[in-house]
């Protein structure tokens, strides 16, 4: 069968099970958009290409499928870079198709030509420039395979205009076989046995779980493992939802804005089992004093993550879910009698930390942002998908909303992109149509991709935005307050839009709360309202996120409320 490149692309997307494409057209992709007219794909026309990638990211996390973007050459392509870098640092499977000038013009500084493959080389898992239509099908197949297997990540395919216009005989490519790429899913059993032996000897073990648990959907295996061995669990920001936030063994998040008990437990533990985590600096603080008394086990599918930041006694290369289910099998074989008594002093200590120094804030007659999240949690019963912007809003969402399942907390963890939350919420809503999706936002971040509200309205995607409006770039202000003698350099907004009117201008609903007693009412009304809603919560201006570990300090040195 002879097909045009653009049609081959459509065939391959169908074969990969794609149902939705987030994109934005332009000259270099006219042929692809034309071919799209003859297919059943749902194309979501975003309002900015950055939004397309964040939406595909949110879609991927909510649905567990690969997110797909399609943009034009030049500025269309460069606009995707922030989104790609974010997906890369969070290991999210996204495939990005960029248009490119015709091959004979490549290298000529042609109109709307950029070397997007060169630009995105360090922030994609892999990328391709397709120069011959005969390689197109195979390249697409490989790209999807790379995006979703091993440690997932974004893969970009650059498509010159003449390549999508050329015809070739289409034959569905067979299984992907790459001699250079073969991720290890099944871990070495001896390393697992060593882990089990260490657990047997440990008096104060802690599990530290991360995004790898969420990505491999290892939550059930993790929960079984932790309960069976009676080991308390903390997690990175990316790991939230990988272990029930309501469980007795749950310590809360670890690190810079981690809970007192999590940071203390890791500081005092004698065994730390890291699963699907990269021991990022926001978690470890000063690495020399991170878990100083512990033997460290680290399980990860990406060997480069292991021992990158902290010394590891037992490295385990493997998929989180496979590894945990094998660990569970090994645990089954051991008599667990006496485990409860053995753990009792440790769990008692943790409980004490929790009761003496819980997460806390002071209620006043202005709305406290933490209270908004607490109420959001209560009203949604912990069932909503929460996306976040970046800054204090993100940390409060992480602290006060308790996640019980993967795919429910969607945040730009590694890159920390302001403007992520709204397009990610749109993508998540497409990927999980029945769910309540709420973007917890700051008044700064929301203005970075507010244009996507038009997308939500156009496609009837009922995302809700809860702005914690403090009139500041709050997180930066907090650092200035604590470490720069309250010299608020360029963090105060001296002018802000009226978010209620702005919502209305976009054809969405706008609501506002200015007093604590209005919070519940506005949340309830906002969540019940059909279609997209912006809820503007006018909150205390100079509230800070606590606990806080100053950058580079040991994690036990926390500033508390």
């Amino acid at each position: 069968m002879k097909l045009k490149g653009a049609q081959i692309l459509m065939k391959m997307l169908q074969a990969e099970g794609v149902d939705t494409i987030f994109g934005y057209p332009g000259g270099a992709v006219l042929d692809i958009y034309d071919a799209l007219m003859d297919t059943d794909f749902r194309h979501i026309l975003v309002r900015h290409e950055q939004g397309a990638v964040h939406a595909a990211d949110g879609y991927a996390r909510a649905s567990g499928k690969v997110g797909v973007c399609l943009v034009t050459s030049g500025p269309g392509a460069t606009n995707t870079v922030t989104g790609i870098a974010s997906a890369y640092l969070d290991s999210i499977p996204v495939v990005i198709f960029t248009g490119q000038v015709p091959t004979h013009l490549i290298g000529n500084d042609a109109f709307q030509e950029v070397d997007i493959v060169g630009i995105t080389r360090p922030c994609t898992k892999h990328n391709y420039l397709v120069k011959d239509v005969r390689n197109l099908a195979k390249t697409i197949k490989e790209a999807f395979h790379l995006a979703r297997s091993g440690r997932p990540g974004p893969v970009l395919i650059d498509l010159p205009k003449d390549v999508v216009n050329a015809t070739a005989t289409f034959k569905a490519p067979g299984e992907v076989r790459m001699r250079t790429y073969n991720p290890t899913y099944k871990p070495n059993i001896r390393q697992l046995q060593k882990t089990i032996d260490l657990i047997g000897k440990a008096k104060k073990p802690v599990i530290f779980s991360g995004g790898g648990i969420v990505l491999s959907k290892a939550h059930e295996e993790l929960t079984r493992f932790a309960r069976k061995a009676q080991i308390p669990v903390t997690s990175s920001l990316m790991g939230l939802g990988g272990f029930p936030g309501t469980d007795d063994l749950w310590l809360g998040m670890l690190g810079m804005h981690g809970t007192f008990r999590a940071n203390m437990a890791v500081t005092e533990c004698d065994l730390l089992i890291g699963i699907g985590v990269r021991f990022d600096d926001r978690v470890t603080g000063k690495t020399d004093e991170f878990a100083p008394n512990a033997k460290v086990v680290q399980i990860d599918i990406d060997p480069t993550s292991i021992q990158k930041n902290v010394p590891v006694s037992v490295p385990v290369v493997g998929d989180c879910r496979t590894s945990l289910s094998m660990l569970n099998d090994l645990l089954e074989k051991i008599d667990q009698e006496g485990t409860d008594e053995k753990r009792e002093p440790w769990l008692k200590q943790i409980h004490e930390w929790k009761s003496t120094t819980p997460l806390a804030y002071k209620q006043t007659d202005t709305i406290k942002p933490q209270y908004v999240i607490e109420m959001l949690y209560e009203i949604t019963g912990g069932e909503a998908i929460i996306t976040t912007e970046v800054g204090q809003n993100q940390m409060w969402a992480a602290q006060y909303y308790h996640f019980t399942e993967p795919g429910h907390f969607i945040t730009s963890g590694g890159l920390g992109v302001m403007g992520f939350g709204l397009p990610a919420a749109i993508g998540a809503q497409v990927g999980a149509p029945g769910k309540i999706v709420v973007d917890v936002a700051g008044d700064g971040s929301i203005q970075m991709n507010i244009q996507e509200l038009a997308t939500a309205v156009q496609y009837g995607l009922p995302v809700k935005v809860a702005i914690l409006n403090n009139g500041f770039l709050g997180m930066v202000r907090q650092w200035q307050e604590l470490f720069y003698q309250r010299r608020y350099s360029s963090t105060r907004f001296e002018h802000a839009p009226d978010f209620v009117k702005l919502a209305e201008a976009y054809g969405a609903t706008g609501l506002r709360a200015t007093k604590p007693e209005e919070v519940k009412k506005v949340l309830k009304k906002g969540l019940e309202t059909k279609g997209p809603v912006i809820m503007d919560f006018v909150v205390a201006q100079e509230e800070s996120v606590y606990p806080m570990v100053p950058a580079g300090a040991p994690i036990k040195k926390m500033l508390l409320v």
Partner: protein, 168 residues
């Protein structure tokens, strides 16, 4: 921790952009490249990159893992500590006034080099060997005045089992 020199032999897909992925990895992550040489192998779609790098043991471990993680990298072999043959070639353009010409020829001879270009006032000397040997020649030629040098960077292959002594 103490810095170590390592000699890596890296088999990669022979495709456009692959070298840039490797050098980009090094510059982006702040790793060092002391020397680098690349050429096709017997399999035309595979190239061999020979690289000398240095760093703490932790960094060297990361370098090898990160290289392996690149999709176009087929195999990374750390030759350090193995039995291997290592060679580099240098072309050295040196001032050759009449009073120095005999001395330069003698030095070239001792190191089994060759004069590959001759002028009224210069010689171009070619030497092949391990980097230390090339360093020695350069030292000896320095007093005459070296005009230009071009070095290939190291190439290396592991020895087959049981042949000859270590690293000669």
């Amino acid at each position: 921790m103490e810095e170590q020199r390592h000699l890596l032999s890296i088999l990669v897909d022979n495709e456009p952009g692959v070298l840039s992925r490797i050098t980009g990895l090094f510059s982006g992550r702040g790793y060092n490249i002391d020397s680098l040489s690349v050429a096709e192998t017997v399999e035309p779609n595979v190239s061999r990159v020979t690289m000398v790098t240095h760093g703490s043991p932790g960094i060297i471990e990361q370098i090898k893992k990160q290289l392996n993680k690149l999709i176009n990298v087929i195999k990374v072999t750390d030759l350090t500590g193995m039995h291997y043959v290592l060679r580099e070639m240098a072309l050295i353009k040196v001032n050759a006034k009449s009073e120095h010409r005999a001395e330069i020829l003698r030095i070239t001879d001792i190191f089994r080099g060759q004069i590959v270009d001759v002028g009224i006032e210069h010689f171009t000397v070619k030497v092949t060997g391990e980097p230390e040997k090339i360093g020695a020649v350069l030292n000896l030629l320095k007093p005459m005045g070296i005009r230009e040098i071009a070095r290939t960077g190291c190439v290396a292959l592991p020895r087959e089992n049981g042949t000859s002594n270590k690293n000669a």
